[in-house]
């Protein structure tokens, strides 16, 4: 693991980004820049790679203990903070966001570089949490979590990583339940979204059509 300070890590991501990075306007473009930055750090990361040939949705075979295992424990903690449960609205846990993200990383359809970037972010989030608080991210209080994520978001790279996590939370919230998120259509109900028809069937999910 690298021994850089939070500031050094963040500076390193940002220094390789072009000035005026149009993150908010062209998300995909800035994600590309983020991937370049992630490349700088990837040698110091020790993340096991997932088996991409598995085409069974993670949600089909998930176990409840998943969110207690690395790196899912960290993903779950970040997702729950980004998309918390409320008295009148579902949170990341209610829509199976962590299992959904696991399936995204295992299934075809999302590029390998994007997948690696998603995985790598867990380690540097924990690095930054460690530098700031001497604790892993999932052990932090909500106030500490907010401070770490705010700090991450000061770099365009970190902000982009969080924005990608949000994208896959939205997918878990609003795709057809056949993909393992949006449990009992809870996301659609909350946002009063009328889905189209016909709905995708289990044997014709997008990856069956590739």
């Amino acid at each position: 693991m690298h021994k850089k300070s939070v500031k050094q890590i963040l500076c390193e991501w940002d220094s390789s980004a072009p000035t005026g990075l149009a993150t908010r306007i062209q998300e995909r473009r800035s994600r590309r820049d983020f991937l370049k930055m992630a490349g700088i750090l990837s040698a110091s990361m020790l993340i096991p790679s997932c088996d991409n040939s598995n085409t069974q949705s993670a949600a089909d075979k998930a176990t409840p203990s998943l969110v207690n295992q690395a790196p899912w424990q960290t993903f779950a903690a970040i997702q729950n903070h980004l998309f918390p449960k409320d008295s009148d609205s579902p949170g990341a846990g209610d829509i199976n966001a962590t299992l959904y993200l696991k399936s995204v990383l295992e299934l075809p359809g999302v590029g390998d570089a994007d997948k690696q970037f998603l995985r790598d972010g867990v380690n540097w989030t924990n690095d930054i949490a460690m530098q700031m608080t001497k604790k892993a991210f999932h052990q932090l209080s909500e106030i500490e979590k907010e401070a770490v994520l705010q700090r991450i978001a000061t770099s365009s790279a970190g902000e982009n990583w969080l924005s990608l996590l949000l994208l896959y939370i939205f997918e878990a919230l609003l795709t057809d339940p056949v993909y393992g998120g949006n449990t009992n259509k809870i996301g659609w109900q909350w946002l009063e979204h009328q889905p189209g028809f016909p709905a995708p069937t289990k044997d014709k999910r997008y990856y069956n059509l590739l």
Partner: protein, 563 residues
């Protein structure tokens, strides 16, 4: 002995009228389609399949483009261009690579061109920096085929007399308009108060069944989605399925044509393709038709060198790939909160399914001193924000100050956007002027997974396009204001919409300045025709598909006479 009478490369709107016409006439036809063959049974309202994973388009790592964008000026005033591979930028220029092509995923906004569109140079004169020319045929030559497409493809609509109505040989559309949303009445009212002429938008969507195709079922998810009822007038549902039934048309999916070989006389001798297992195959035919959408058509011709075609097939004048066209213009939005309507109207406004179906053509030609000399204008269309929920949510995660949002503030915003607000959009379509800064060539470094150079696309635009776009956007905003919409905003830019593409093999009478003759036959190769949107020397200010269908029916009759 040739394998087939006719070999068609591509299976979309430019290909399928030729396949149907010639198969019905008893000729043997083969269609080579690079992508897979989906049917109605494969199409669901699945946002992941439709729009978030590459199901209908290639993985950019395997097949991509190189895009050249404007990057400032040199000291001598010439433009600098920055080239970037689309696998790096994520800018995806594919539109639907499967049997039926991108017509499977269109919204079916269908407009004819108007007589003056065939002679813009004569009507409005030269525009400095643009290569505007008259077409070698007039509207009268195309009219019967626009009419034919109405009935064969199945176009629904209603003729309302207005100042810019083009001539028609039939009084009205063969199918009545699709069901309309409550907002259409509000648009009508506002437009009439402003002395504008709101028009029902013709759509290539069945409002009544046709043969095995069902009527529209009004799911409310149309554009970008494959149609599960068969109502959408895709090349596959409306034409190819009929062509197959003749017994004379064979469609080969997963057939990636990498070159057209030509003989010592310059005629095309074979289409050479990779099959699903990447094995090389060859097809011979009397006549070859290329219709794989403008960019890939130019790329295939440029890749197909031969002894008589050292610079690429039909490119002896260096015109292949030149004068590529997109659609200029932009779009805008206004917001309504359901609470601003009475209960009944609020419920009607929430309804999903019926079409907005309203457009304005009042400024198809601009005659306004404030604008300048009389000029070609364009079309305004009204529509709801696309119902895709994930992209809608994802677009809301940035705060007004540009920072990423999360937690309760983000969730509150989502709730408001989804359940309290209706977004009415407009789109402006105006001519993308042909210039020397918008063209297709072959990239000399990046290849596709079969080893062929990918298309490099220079994406320059003419400033006049923005001037017209802004003029029309301002008119559109007036309508939203009249409707008491809030937060009205619009954006006009020179960013090319990849799904509205034409040109690159313009037709004309002079072989020195065009690729095809008036019959869309290559000047340089007697048995080669191009029938997608590539032939268009100027684009008109409407989506291209109806004109592509009509022209392909026209050329099909020409080929039929020769066979």
């Amino acid at each position: 002995m040739k394998d087939y009478d006719v070999c068609i490369v591509g299976s979309g709107a430019g290909a399928s009228p030729v396949a149907l016409t010639l198969a019905e006439a008893g000729y043997s036809v083969v269609v080579l389609e690079k992508g897979p063959w989906f049917t109605e049974a494969d199409f669901f309202k699945d946002e992941l399949a439709c729009c978030r994973r590459s199901v209908y388009t290639p993985n950019l790592k395997n097949e991509q483009h190189v895009l050249e964008e404007y990057n400032g000026q040199n000291d001598d005033g010439s433009y600098k261009w920055r080239a970037e591979a689309s696998s790096d930028s994520g800018s995806d220029f594919w539109n639907g690579n499967c049997v039926g092509g991108s017509s499977n995923f269109m919204s079916g906004y269908f407009y004819r061109l108007k007589p003056k569109d065939f002679r813009l140079r004569s009507e409005f004169g030269e525009i400095k920096g643009a290569n505007v020319v008259d077409w070698p045929i007039d509207y009268a030559a195309m009219e019967p085929y626009y009419t034919k497409a109405e009935s064969v493809v199945g176009i629904s609509g209603k003729i309302i007399p207005h100042p810019h109505q083009e001539p028609r040989s039939t009084p009205d559309f063969p199918y009545p308009p699709t069901a309309e949303h409550a907002v259409s009445g509000l648009i009508d009212k506002a437009c009439r108060e402003l002395n504008m002429h709101p028009l029902p938008t013709p759509r290539a969507i069945l409002s009544k069944p046709q043969g095995e195709r069902r009527s529209c079922e009004y799911s409310g998810f149309c554009g970008s989605y494959g149609c599960s009822s068969g109502a959408k007038g895709s090349a596959r549902a409306a034409l190819l399925n009929k062509a197959i039934k003749t017994g004379n048309c064979k469609i080969i999916p997963h057939a990636k044509v990498y070159q057209l070989s030509s003989d010592e006389t310059g005629r095309v001798s074979s289409a050479d393709y990779f099959d699903k297992d990447s094995a090389k195959k060859t097809v011979t035919a009397k006549v070859f038709v290329v219709a794989c959408q403008a960019i890939e058509t130019s790329r295939l011709l440029l890749s197909s060198t031969g002894s008589k075609h050292p610079n690429g097939l039909a490119n002896n004048s260096g015109q292949v790939g030149k004068n590529l066209l997109f659609s200029a213009g932009g779009s805008g939005t206004g917001e309504f909160t359901y609470s601003q309507f009475d209960t009944q109207l609020a419920e009607a406004m929430k309804q999903r399914g019926p079409f907005v179906n309203r457009g304005l053509q009042d400024w198809y030609f601009i005659d306004d001193k404030k604008f300048g000399a009389p000029a070609k204008g364009g079309v305004i269309d009204f529509l709801f924000r696309h119902p895709n929920a994930i992209s809608k949510a994802n677009g809301e995660k940035w705060a007004d100050d540009g920072k990423l949002m999360w937690g309760k503030p983000l969730k509150d915003k989502l709730k408001t956007v989804f359940s309290e607000t209706k977004y009415l959009r407009f789109e402006v379509f105006n001519d993308w002027l042909p210039t020397d800064d918008c063209f297709v060539s072959l990239d000399n470094a990046i290849k596709d997974k079969w080893g062929s150079p990918v298309a490099k696309i220079r994406l320059g635009y003419h400033d006049h396009d923005l001037k017209v776009g802004h003029y029309l956007a301002e008119k559109s905003e007036q309508v939203l204001k009249q409707m008491n919409a809030s937060n009205i905003r619009s954006s006009v830019s020179g960013a090319p919409p990849p799904n509205l593409v034409a040109g690159g093999c313009r037709f004309g009478n002079d072989p020195a300045t065009s690729v095809l003759n008036a019959d869309c036959q290559a000047h340089d190769a007697d048995n080669l025709y191009v029938t997608d949107g590539s032939f268009m020397p100027t684009g008109g200010s409407v989506p291209y598909t109806w004109t592509i269908y009509a022209n392909a029916f026209r050329v099909a009759d020409i080929i039929k006479r020769r066979l």
